[in-house]
């Protein structure tokens, strides 16, 4: 057999495996999409288009307050962890010097501590120091620790080719540091910042482990979904899950389009 033919066989075998795995990843998501739209959620084939479970979801006041809490938590976490991640990225890439690797390891460390450990250890700290059961602020901070590493890695991976001389050139030409940041750096690094914001937002929107131990009785969407799970899955949960998946899909698609547009400009 010539190497050309065996190359082609290897390529198609790999392709088949990749298709299989993507099917494994997406089949449950598509399945619950159909289930949320059907009056028979257990076996929704052939598919129907029945929006009853979405109507019930929108009328459910528990989900409404949980949604608002989650939105607040996720937005604050996304901004906080992206700002910190941006500082860390510039610090490591531009001013890290010989210690760059040390700081990179430190900033990636929360990735190697599981979410549940972050949750219970933060809870232990606040309890020991302040006898405090946890509130929105502590939940935002603990979520930001977890998301910070993702933000740092995303921005570092997208910014390591950034040419710092551009900032200096702007300053030499008379721009203030703030102006050189706003008009030079921000527009160029925008996709990285957006990617980081989206990732942190979605991770903290959907994460249960950290918020569960730090929010006490305040309901968030994952905690309400988790509570509902104990009494069996209801079609409303399928509807909620489908909506979140659609939002995530839309955000990632938007990010992809913005990267493509950026490339065309360049």
């Amino acid at each position: 057999m010539s190497p050309h033919v065996s190359d082609a066989i290897a390529k198609w075998l790999l392709a088949a495996f990749v298709i299989l795995v993507f099917a494994f990843l997406y089949m449950p998501i598509v399945h619950i999409l159909f289930a949320s739209l059907s009056s028979r959620p257990n076996f929704p084939y052939p598919p129907e288009f029945n929006f009853a479970s979405y109507v019930r979801l929108s009328n459910n006041t528990v989900y409404q307050s949980a949604f608002l809490n989650s939105l607040l938590l996720a937005s604050c976490t996304a901004v906080l962890s992206t700002v910190l991640g941006f500082l860390a990225t510039i610090g490591v890439l531009r001013f890290g010097g010989r210690r760059a690797l040390f700081y990179a390891i430190l900033f990636a460390a929360p990735l190697f501590v599981s979410e549940i450990m972050l949750g219970i250890s933060s809870m232990a700290l606040y309890y020991l120091l302040f006898e405090l059961q946890g509130n929105m602020v502590t939940a935002i901070i603990a979520n930001a620790v977890h998301c910070f590493s993702f933000c740092f890695l995303i921005m570092a991976a997208m910014l390591y080719k950034y040419d710092w001389r551009m900032n200096e050139a702007a300053i030499v030409c008379g721009a203030s540091p703030v102006r050189s940041f706003l008009e030079i750096m921000l527009p160029i690094t925008w996709p990285a910042i957006m990617g980081s914001l989206i990732t942190a937002f979605v991770l903290s929107l959907n994460g249960l482990d950290i918020s569960f131990y730090l929010l006490g009785a305040t309901p968030t969407m994952p905690s309400v979904a988790w509570g509902a799970l104990r009494y069996g899955v209801k079609p409303e949960l399928y509807a909620l899950s489908t909506l979140i998946n659609l939002v995530v899909f839309g955000l990632v698609l938007g990010l992809l389009v913005s990267i493509r547009l950026k490339r065309k400009d360049a």
Binding site: V21, F95, S114, I116, M117, I141, A157, G207, V252, L256
Partner: protein, 287 residues
Amino acid sequence: MPNVSLRQRLLLYVPSGFLLFFFVFPLIALVVLSFWQTENYKIVRELTLNNYVTLATEGAYITFFLRSLMMAVGVSVTLVVMAWPIAYFIVRYGGRYRIILSLLLVIPFLSGEVLRLIALQGMLGPAGLVNGMLVRMGAAPLRLIMYSNVASFIAFIYLYLPLVVTTVYLSLINFDFRLAHAANACGANRFRVFTEVVWPLNLSGTLVGFMLAFIPTLSASLVPRFLGGPNGTLYGMSMSQQFGESGTWALGAAMGVVLFLFSALALAILSFGVDLRRTGFTGMGRQ
């Protein structure tokens, strides 16, 4: 320039300080708590080793721990074996669809553990798609995938596959494939090119991916609680129960310390093989 050194300090010290206060201090608090006692839902502030003695002698906790360890090793090894062909395919043959294919991996990862478990339950549960199909075709439902360790295993694979593929992908995309071609031109066959060039040079990224699946699996609590069934209790699930239903915080904290130490040990062993510059993680390898 004094200005630069001030800015430099701020840029690196603000995130480091944040991590010190809200990442390192909580872990220290957990260690302190683990040496105290809980009696009647109240914490007694006296140094004692009782929690660790309980964990080391009571059979149930040892069983939970060994089960967690086996599950974590099995899941991580399976994930690495699955992730390599996928990442390799995307890097070598993805062409201009590379970004789309890698983002398609991100979408399931971002939709969150709880919602993904709900979706998976829709597939594997007693009334789920797989068993629904089997019953409709006249076969008996598969008991194996309902509320068992096998169900947990499938769930872990489903949850962490995107993370591992992405790490291996990041490593491979920074790998210079001309090295493989050079080895090939020098007469190495495909197997030798892989074992002597491609695999060793991407080992760092692979090990990072392994750890990113190993650590959350070792301390998982949601998956076993929801899918594990009667014989599926894992260490992390037992730990979360100490903080929830049974209210024995100090014992739970000791379990947390055990999990943390084992994760750190695994990290230390594997980090002998890791050169962060080669993981493609921060892109520093190309500077």
